[in-house]
């Protein structure tokens, strides 16, 4: 299935890039046909593995010259199909850009290439008492460039915020192949903030300056088992109402606990309708104070067992079940959909009741895992792909969970992004005007729509020329009808 344009482009890439950096062999291309959302697949036309920003820029310019779309890819762990390649396009992979360029502890920052993994940053500074705060569960493999593109979160973003709150500077290659430096110090529009979370549609990040945070003095992790999910929910509300902002509050329902038990033998308390994990960190005196309050609240709201981690090992044991939850449901179900929706915390009980009703209505089981502190749900919709019709029913349930989130004033994605997976839900959350306005940003960066087209937004839109742009002094000023000082 050779495409003459891509063939010519491949030759140009070969001239431009180091040996072995251009992949056209179908067998090797197949490695890149999907990201973490494995049911969307497409063979990339060409894969390139640049080593420098200049090479990325040159590759992007070449794509522009041939009018061929390109897609950036980091580690390919994305769960919304953001890095799904284009058969008629080029996949630009950052896996050869893995250098940590600078660590600057006095100014609490590090400068890294986009292919560096999230965890590698923390590992580079841990001994000096620092870390990189955003901690997606995929942090061992996911790239910082992918984190920037998705505005990745993690269990601890309740207290510390998301990727966007920890990025101090970016070097980007714009969709027309220019290298631009954006700094949090710069006056002007917050392009840095607009770029983070743009899912590869505004260009490719080639250098990233991250904020480093001080490792907290004390960490306390507590696991509380409740008879029901309502009990756990009540505890969460009471903790927040007490003015405590824990580093993390995670909840799992009975089915999710069952799966985790089957997969990793996490030995959570038996008979729990819900398990709550609360982690407090910060100055020792503050943590001790808050911990007493959290423990009391859990008892008062009906926890029948409370475990407190006394060591790093015990903490890891508590987290083990939660961290393995996504993969673990594979043990209790042949197939599953990982959903990612958000609701205002106060709407959690109603939304969970709604999910229960959906389970009954469709005869589909849902295991609930969530970042309870910020209302970010990860329902795992279980199904048997061999049973006729079950996959469709599961997809319907999954979609209707998003409807529930929207009805309750929430969002269709808290951290996994829109990608290809959820673009059709965007019009449910946003009006046509909202989407048109977002498109203005897209058109400013990428008027030809070559950078990851078909992602995020439901229908391709043309940018067109900017109507009636006036440059320089306004005619009214010139004619003296308006004054300018």
């Amino acid at each position: 299935m050779s495409d003459p344009v891509l063939d010519r482009l491949a030759v140009r890439f070969e001239e431009l890039l180091p040996a072995g950096a251009v992949i056209t062999d179908p067998v090797r291309l197949r490695t890149y046909e999907c990201d973490g959302l494995t049911h969307h697949r497409a063979m990339p036309g060409i894969v390139v593995l640049p080593e420098t920003a200049e090479q990325v820029a040159a590759a992007v310019r070449l794509c522009g010259e041939y009018g061929v779309p390109f897609v950036a890819r980091g580690s390919g762990t994305g769960l919304s199909g953001g890095a799904l390649p284009r058969t008629d396009g080029v996949l630009i992979v950052t896996s050869r850009m893995r250098r940590i360029l600078e660590i600057d502890l006095p100014n609490r920052r590090a400068v890294v290439e986009p292919g560096v993994t999230n965890l590698a940053i923390t590992e580079a500074v841990r001994e000096q008492g620092y870390y990189y705060a955003p901690d997606p569960s995929s942090q061992q493999v996911c790239s910082i460039g992918g984190n920037v593109a998705e505005n990745a979160g993690g269990a601890h973003c309740l207290k510390y915020g998301f990727t966007v709150n920890h990025i101090l500077g970016l070097e980007i290659v714009t969709p027309d192949g220019e290298i631009v430096e954006l700094s949090a110090l710069d006056p002007g529009y917050d392009l840095l903030g607009a770029f983070v979370g743009s899912e590869g549609t505004l260009g490719i990040a080639t250098k990233i300056t991250v904020r480093l945070s001080r490792t907290p003095e004390a960490v306390t992790t507590l696991l509380a088992a409740f008879g029901s999910i309502e009990g756990g929910g009540e505890a969460v509300s009471a903790i927040i109402a007490a003015g405590i902002v824990p580093a993390a509050i995670e909840m799992m329902d009975a089915l999710a606990v069952e799966a985790a038990e089957a997969a990793v033998g996490c030995a959570y308390p038996e008979g729990a309708g819900a398990v709550l994990i609360v982690e407090l960190d910060g100055p020792r005196a503050e943590v001790e104070h808050q911990f007493a309050a959290v423990e009391r609240i859990c008892r008062e709201t009906g926890a029948f067992e409370i475990r407190v981690a006394a060591s790093a090992e015990e903490r890891a044991a508590i987290w083990k079940g939660r961290k393995s939850a996504f993969a673990a449901v594979g043990r209790i179900s042949p197939a599953y959909i990982v959903q990612d929706g958000v609701v205002p915390r106060t709407a959690l009980p109603e939304v969970l009741a709604g999910i229960d009703r959906l389970q009954e209505e469709y005869g589909i089981r849902v295991a609930n895992v969530f970042h309870a502190g910020d209302g970010n749900l990860h329902p795992l919709v279980l199904f048997d792909d061999a049973a006729p019709g079950e996959g469709e029913r599961a997809a319907t349930v999954s979609g209707r969970i998003l409807d529930l989130c929207i009805e309750h004033g929430g969002s269709i994605t808290g951290e996994h992004g829109v990608g290809v997976d959820k673009s059709r839900y965007m019009p449910k959350m946003f009006t046509e005007e909202d989407l048109d306005t977002m498109q203005l940003v897209r058109c400013a960066f990428d008027p030809r729509s070559l950078s990851n087209p078909g992602k995020v937004f439901p229908t391709p839109r043309l940018c067109g020329e900017v109507p009636g742009v006036r440059k320089g002094v306004h005619p009214l000023v010139e004619s003296g009808r308006a004054e300018q000082f």
């Binding site: 600057d104 100014n107 008492g129 979160g153 973003c157 998301f162 966007v164 709150n165 631009v180 430096e181 700094s183 110090l185 710069d186 006056p187 002007g188 529009y189 917050d190 840095l192 979370g197 743009s198 001080r214 927040i240 003015g243 902002v245 100055p283 020792r284 005196a285 503050e286 104070h289 808050q290 609701v343 205002p344 004033g409 929430g410 969002s411 269709i412 808290g414 951290e415 829109v418 959820k422 965007m426 946003f430 009006t431 909202d434 048109d436 306005t437 977002m438 203005l440 940003v441 400013a444 960066f445 900017v466 009636g468 006036r470 306004h474 000023v477 009808r481 004054e483 300018q484 000082f485």
Partner: protein
């Protein structure tokens, strides 16, 4: 122009309160012709549609505390006064989220939230401002070190574009990555992209306790030597502020500790600073305010006389800066040693050429590692300097402006690169 069909008539017919502008309505000396007082987002849109049809330039004003910052608008036909957009639309305490109209005074919001034991953790350096103004000017205060700035706490926004389109982005949940974050673009945009109609913020519980460690009188060298250990300390201060009214006058550093066990943590900070530091319940009087000669009373005469700068850099550059350009003038300095954001004021009588040379010297000293922005300056100074200095991505910013406001009718000329 025919009075019955001209812009005045069209504005009057838009169903929005309009009054003819008076001399007091001038924006940095540029007099508008009308003042519009919309009460709802739809009313803003009505004003904007008429403005689009009649090619009217629009400037938005909250309380006007920073209206003279930046360059004066190239033209201004309609001043949109947000005073009547003054409703707190939604405050769900259990969600730690508030949605407010742009014209709500920051102080009103603060009181309403405090009644529920919560706060919007921004401490704007000017009293009397509105939420919309705070956002549009992108002003931060001492506790930005801990909580971030307005862009970090904003989770949703409704804006009205130059052509009257009403658009929103984000939402009312803290965690949300659906679509582009327009709120980031509008924060600090000086009204050049459109009108901010309402904003939704993430809140924090009011800290259980707070204590402030104040060290008055040390030399700057002593302060700069002690501060890195404080900033990095496990006592986790929320802010570390310097007050240096003059190069050789009295100076002080104050460190705020918030939350449980604040007193104990404050003692740890005091030990790091040394014996002369004292622990107080509240920060000193100068805390979080602009340095004195540059301080402009809300509603006061635009310009305010003095020159006000903002330096944004990294902590390691501070000693060089104080030993260099900042030592050589009569500049008053206040700001965060933790975030390395300082505001510098020069007295009104400063010679314009000397002020311009001072700005250049600061920029030269910081080079790549910092920015110096002239927030406000009298015209003779403003004419001599580039107010904004280096702006990374300016070409992209122009393209954004061109898309949002192709006719350049929103606060034209006020912002970076003459946007």
């Amino acid at each position: 122009m025919n009075a019955a069909t001209g812009p005045g008539a069209a504005l009057a017919a838009a169903g929005v309160t309009i009054r003819p502008a008076g001399p007091d309505d001038a924006v940095a000396g540029v007099a508008p012709r009308w003042v519009a007082l919309p009460e709802t987002t739809r009313e803003i849109a009505a004003v904007m549609r008429v403005s689009a049809a009649h090619d009217l330039a629009v400037v938005v004003a909250g309380a006007g505390t920073t209206l003279h910052w930046g360059r004066p608008p190239e033209r201004c036909d309609v001043l949109i006064d947000t005073c009547c957009l003054n409703e707190i639309l939604e405050h769900e305490a259990g969600d730690l989220v508030v949605r407010v109209q742009a014209g709500v005074p920051v102080e009103t919001l603060t009181e309403a939230l405090a009644a529920k034991g919560q706060e919007l953790a921004l401490d704007p350096p000017l009293a009397g401002g509105t939420v919309g103004g705070l956002l549009a000017a992108g002003l931060a205060g001492p506790r930005a070190f801990r909580y971030g700035t307005a862009r970090d706490l904003l989770i949703g926004i409704t804006v009205v574009l130059a052509d009257g389109t009403i658009a929103k982005a984000g939402g009312k949940v803290v965690k949300n990555v659906a679509g582009y974050d327009l709120g980031k673009l509008f924060t600090g945009s000086y009204g050049t992209l459109g009108v901010i109609a309402d904003a939704t913020f993430r809140l924090h519980p009011l800290p259980a306790a707070r204590a402030c460690v104040v060290w008055s009188g040390p030399t700057l060298d002593e302060i700069l030597a002690a501060v890195p250990a404080v900033t990095a300390s496990q006592a986790e201060p929320s802010a570390v502020e310097l007050d240096r009214p003059a190069p050789d006058g009295p100076r002080a550093v104050a460190v705020l500790v918030e939350g449980a066990a604040a007193a104990e943590r404050a003692r740890a900070v005091r030990d790091l600073l040394g014996g002369e530091a004292r622990i107080a319940d509240e920060p000193p009087r100068w805390w979080g305010r602009l340095p004195e000669p540059g301080f402009v009373e809300p509603g006061g005469p635009s310009g305010g006389g003095g020159v006000l700068l903002e330096i944004r850099t990294v902590p390691s550059r501070l000693p060089g800066l104080f030993a260099g350009a900042l030592a050589r003038t009569d500049a008053a300095v206040r700001g965060s040693l933790a975030s390395a954001v300082l505001r510098v004021a020069l007295p009104a009588e400063t010679d314009p050429a000397a002020a311009a040379a001072f700005v250049s010297a600061l920029r030269a000293e910081l080079a790549d590692e910092g920015r110096v922005v002239v927030l406000s300056a009298p015209e003779p100074v403003a004419r001599r300097v580039d107010l904004w200095g280096h702006v990374g991505g300016l070409a992209l910013m122009r393209r954004i402006k061109d898309r949002f406001d192709p006719d350049r009718r929103m606060s034209p000329g006020r912002f970076v690169g003459g946007i």
